[in-house]
Amino acid sequence: MSKSTYKVPIGPIHPSLEEPMTFNFEISGEKIKSIDLAPGDNHRGIEFMGRNRNIIQIIYLAERICGICSASHPFAFCRAVENAAGISVPPRAEYIRVIIAELERIHSHILWAGVAAHELGFDSVLYLSWKVREEVMDILEILTGNRVNYGMFMIGGVRRDISKEQIPRIEKTIEYYKEAYQKLEDVFLQDPSIAIRTKNVGVLTYEEALNLASVGPTARASGVKKDVRQDQPYSAYADMDIKAITPDMFSGKVNGDVYDRIIVRVLEVKQSVEIIEYCLNHLPDGEILSEKKIAKLLGILKKAEGEGVGRHEAPRGEVIHYVKLGEGESPEVWKARAPTYNNLMSWVPMLQNQEVADIPIVVASIDPCIGCMDRATLVDANTYQKQVLTREELRKLSIEKTRRMMQ
């Protein structure tokens, strides 16, 4: 070729991306020279919608920011509102919240592991991981009634109790995952063909992780010991001794590569199982909601004023919701931030000078959740149209097409 570099777009729709997002790469041979990130293909204007809803309606909206983080966003949101309005949560509810949040973490990490294996072209491991994941989805369905979007969280507590009869079932799940963990460790951490593709690939150094404000497993894999569950006491995590997991616990050193991110996630599955076990053994008795009548709760929230921040360690990292309660039913400000938002920038140093073949696994290695990140704008307008279409025009186009088809 006459030119030394050429441009390759990955996205908005591409098999290695689970969600729409555009990367524009400039490539020389097989090496990446420059990267331009262009998110925004998945905007649904969730924060904007929140302006017209009351606090309790927003919980369900927050749950739908992302399907996989559907415990993390309401968790952080509820905590933000509780902090703002000064509502206290009964201890039993705190423990149930943590159980759900940790089950979600197991679910999310194993789902990610499967996706990562698929990106490497290792489909057998994809099927194995997703088979293992079924168990946690089953238990979530038993506990909450849903496999995703659990509908479990409420301001001041949780909506469903864990009954005595359910506890043996959860214990069975814990046993299942203790066994499955060995299998995951064997497949991901001992397998040479995964190591050959992930070691020294997509490196994010300690300094870069700090500078770019990375969160979650992405930051921890680079040696930044940052984990909301460890850093600040909140919910039932305040009663536990949780340590941020860094790859040196397993391999003795920190490289900050994709392999280290795998280590962190696999070890966190084990950690989550231990947390759930602790919660089950120490589950306090008592109420699960501070205020059972929703109408009364809404009244309290309407009167309340103030601002609050809710942080929670979602599977992908710190999720933070900021709520300012003002006059009226809906919050004056609601700001939701998902971990991918912060980790977005870390793609740039990770992908620089890597090969084309590494793009999928490096992109997947931060476990991106574009739906979470892109939550904040207006219309899901077609960016490739020269003009933004109004609803009427779209309707007109649609009618025209129907007519054409009928002829």
Binding site: P9, Y127, E355, P360
Partner: protein
């Protein structure tokens, strides 16, 4: 042309058609078996064995799209070339006790060349489709070709050379002669190990020829969205799929003919028509075993390599193994 010559000529044409159709059917069948077995190993239900046939018919009725900035004659010609060249190889391979259709006019060297043709067709098709993904895929396919040709040729040369030492003065690259004199019979213990190395080399070249995991780098679904084939659809894609299915049979038959040409009809002390049928059935069983180990098993057990990793493993590691095989056979002959 005399009457009998004319008859033979006609018979050969009919035979060519029959072999082409049978080759395609057998290829698609084995492809279905391969998919089903892979699914079972991955604890999935998997598609029915007839799925490749359904896929083929579906693709045939789909619209055949030629991209705007493609070069149409190359783009459309490439799949035809790929299929024709792979089917042609079938005419040179003896099936069980049935001699090859064109056995007297071509040998292993010709097959080595014909094997490169589908890959070249793919590269031409990829470059002509005018897509960045396809171009990257085509570049990778070229690198792959350059990498796996050396070990492949090493194997072929080693076998022929050893045979020529044993029987001077015959065409040692003729598949008839190669399959009549299996390498295992003419070498000593050291040569036996050498021959095993050669078998291993051929077995690892096969996944690259068929571009399956771990060597599906030119197609790399998650990286290049199908890479070299990304712009192909409809009839053209169907032809590539057929070519790939036939190539699977070709590569497996080659392994069988070169290394496991034994027949079992004598064991049952039958002869004539019945013996041929038993031999053919046995041949299919051998094909199945070879495909299972060379394609299905490898595909399920490992992750995709990067292009430089694949290139290094072929050019350095596998070539070394092939040359060691050659060396062992040589030492075995000398002592």
């Amino acid at each position: 042309m005399s009457g009998s010559g004319m008859l033979i000529f006609l018979l050969k044409i009919v035979g060519a058609l029959v072999i082409a159709v049978l080759g395609v059917i057998i290829g698609l069948f084995y492809k279905g078996v391969d998919r089903k077995l892979a699914a079972l190993m991955q604890s999935r239900v998997g598609p029915p064995i007839r799925q490749p046939f359904l896929d083929f018919f579906k693709l045939m009725v789909k619209e055949n799209i030629v991209p705007e900035n493609a070069v149409p004659w190359v783009f459309n010609g490439a799949p035809v070339l790929a299929l024709v060249s792979t089917v042609t190889i079938l005419y040179y391979i003896p099936f069980a006790s049935i001699p090859a259709l064109l056995g007297d006019s071509g040998d292993l060297i010709l097959i080595a060349y014909l094997l490169a043709l589908p890959a070249i067709a793919l590269v031409a098709g990829g470059f002509s489709s005018g897509s960045t993904y396809a171009s990257i895929g085509a570049q990778r396919e070229m690198v792959m070709m350059m990498s796996y040709e050396l070990p492949l040729v090493t194997t072929i040369i080693a076998l022929g050379w050893r045979l020529s030492l044993a029987y001077p003065g015959i065409n040692v690259f003729s598949l008839e002669i190669l399959s009549a004199n299996p390498i295992w019979n003419i070498v000593g213990p050291l040569g036996f190990i050498g021959a095993f190395f050669l078998l291993f080399t051929l077995a690892i070249v096969t996944p690259a020829e068929l571009s399956i995991v771990p060597f599906d780098i030119p197609e790399a679904e998650t990286e290049l969205a199908g890479g070299i084939l990304v712009e192909y659809s409809g009839r053209n894609l169907a032809l590539f799929e057929l070519a790939n299915a036939v190539k699977m049979v070709v590569m497996a038959s080659l392994t069988v003919v070169l290394f496991f040409p034994y027949n079992i009809a004598q064991l049952f002390s039958v002869s004539g028509f019945l013996a041929t049928i038993i031999d053919i059935l046995f041949f299919f069983v051998k094909l199945f075993v070879v495909i299972f180990f060379e394609a299905t098993f490898i595909r399920v057990a490992v992750a995709r390599l990067k292009i430089n990793q694949a290139s290094v493993s072929y050019l350095i590691f596998l070539s070394t193994i092939g040359l060691m095989g050659l060396l062992l056979i040589a030492i075995d002959y000398i002592i």
